[in-house]
Symmetry: C2
Subunit: 425 residues, 2 copies
Amino acid sequence: MKFLYQDSQISDDEIAAAGKSLADYIERLNHVARAKDYSLPEGFINLPGDRNLANQISEVCRSKISGRLKYVVVIGIGGSNLGARAVYDALRGYFDLLEPERFPKIIFADTNDPEFSERLVGFLKSKINDPAEILINIVSKSGDTLETTANGNLILGALIGKFKNIADRIAVTTDFKSKLWHSAEKAGLSLISVPAKVGGRFSVFSAVGLLPLAVVGLDTKELFKGALNMRDQCLVDDMLKNQAALSAIVLFLNYRRGKTINDNFFFHPELESLGKWYRQLLAESVGKDGVGVTPTVSVGSADLHSVGQLNLGGPKNKITSFVWSENSAFVEPLNGAEKLGFEPVSRPFAEIMGAILEGAKNAYRNKGLPFVEAVLPDISPESLGEYMQFKMMEVCFLAKLFNVNAFDQPEVEFYKKEACRFLTN
Amino acid sequence: MKFLYQDSQISDDEIAAAGKSLADYIERLNHVARAKDYSLPEGFINLPGDRNLANQISEVCRSKISGRLKYVVVIGIGGSNLGARAVYDALRGYFDLLEPERFPKIIFADTNDPEFSERLVGFLKSKINDPAEILINIVSKSGDTLETTANGNLILGALIGKFKNIADRIAVTTDFKSKLWHSAEKAGLSLISVPAKVGGRFSVFSAVGLLPLAVVGLDTKELFKGALNMRDQCLVDDMLKNQAALSAIVLFLNYRRGKTINDNFFFHPELESLGKWYRQLLAESVGKDGVGVTPTVSVGSADLHSVGQLNLGGPKNKITSFVWSENSAFVEPLNGAEKLGFEPVSRPFAEIMGAILEGAKNAYRNKGLPFVEAVLPDISPESLGEYMQFKMMEVCFLAKLFNVNAFDQPEVEFYKKEACRFLTN
């Protein structure tokens, strides 16, 4: 992955100056990496090299998965599903409608929406004919997330009368010794833990993200390879070579100039869920104490036809991060439509998308709007691993620059308590 | 639909004062409605009562649709697909994965993304066995949208060798006498026009939005009914009864107090595409001349676990519009999971979602964050018609308050020209 900042409107001198305040923190991250330490929240950087974790995941796959598997239902919300969904949608999920007979598919149950839930129960009751066709992965770090508990009840309730040994088809991912851990252990369910200090939004390379991806056959070794490679690049103290620190500095200095929104503009629609994963990561890690960058997710080229006018002609309150891949499938133009009166288009589709992106970048330059670019070599597990590690380390640096704690989310407890009050009244 | 503004932090006196500047414009809209006038861009308000349009749509359905129809491919981008997609996804599309055998389904081809396009061609070649199984709707108001032209070539190219009479399975929606109109007419394709002055983002109740919805069997009469009812409510000059004007005033006065972002927070995930439709509507209509509200789309309850922390603890630069439905499917909690050690959840799902929403609203109040609410009676064609008409009229009023032209998009031409320059070089 290449991070380009030439259009960020931040000079190398400004970067070097801001980077000085990160030196101690980079030293700390190096210590965490050397010691393979999970006692700090930054321990997430050690997950991609963790053999014990890889072995646990392999063991679940070995014991639970056969060629008969058709659906994996991931019951989790927020940090418990956004990472797996980002990778799955990029490589598979976005194409589900066009690949109706490709299995296994993942169903993400992250809502108690009545319309969705009613159909999900109907689907489980009528379409699953053999327990080997389904795997239920319940994911809750704390073990007591309201939506996940309700969905666990509903989904297991729909299956428990239907199959005798449905317990065999469940895997639970939670903190060691959480309430959910204890009840699952008692019921003899398959259990896998998350390191205590690794927060939900930093957990994609733990069992939280890895298990759903591994059971549907995605290459988690390649994901780890990309993540590990990026981690090592982002532990160096030369700011112009440390892409995560560089990106954090550019976002921070632009924020101080009034760019309070970071539009993440993915030029491949299958990466929209990756944007939603980053949206949580940035919003929850830095949005506190009255500061914070507001993340938005756009998809090219469609959203040039949607928010392009505002971005180019409205208030100059945004820094844009374009994300695109250098190599795509080769889609040749097809002939024949000229017989129906249609003007032929003689360029491969990657060239059309590339030309639109170049046009958009020139329009941003022309208007004096700052942007950066993350250029992926391709859309593969390895590239996604690189990008996700890059972004997780970036928000750690960004929180340091904002002088906030990247790892807490103090404001989300209030509404949860209020919701429980309404439910118990 | 009910619009609630008690937590908007705007007083009735402020609303009345701001409303005075809208009096002339309301008079003008009344004239447009009385005269059934399509000569102004506001003519979109007359579409829901247009019998000629309804008859044209019925005729296409009568001549093209049979019980064998499985897939409708809508080739269009931006204003040419977001409206149809909003309604389709709310009622059907969001549930596609759980209803694999429900047909017809819509495939929205709004990208030249190589990975998607490659799979789309493969799908059309291998899964469509009979021309009656497919209908292609090409939608481009101008008739020369780059992405749509390229997709038209690719998709017709994939089918033209396979079936003799594929021309029978095509319907084209475009401006009368556009380049596309002429070529389609020459090739004998089914054609339906859009009123010249009605812009893409205001075209959901024209053939642009209506045709795809009608051919898959959604009740466009009910959609019209809701839209017409809302239109009449939004032609009155009492600001506290004119919900569209009221909403515009509240957004405008909050913008002047630094709430430059409007977070549209839908408490039903199937309404996410409705949010994306409004995102274009608000961004393109008001985002110009250096001003404009930046729209964001959130989905409850999942996004409370994502951007909730930022919204509650970050900069106070947002006004939130909660959208929720009073009546939902009744999903009873299911028993049985307690045998697997899971704590039972004894509340119906609509109550759980309702409690989370109430908890969130109390958290916003507690932090002094302004919000409004659009309360739909249900999620039905009629309610969606009401909401969409409400929002289209709201942005007309909002543009008046901002003193910008709601109906142009001057900045989007530059990147298109640049893109063409790259393609022809």
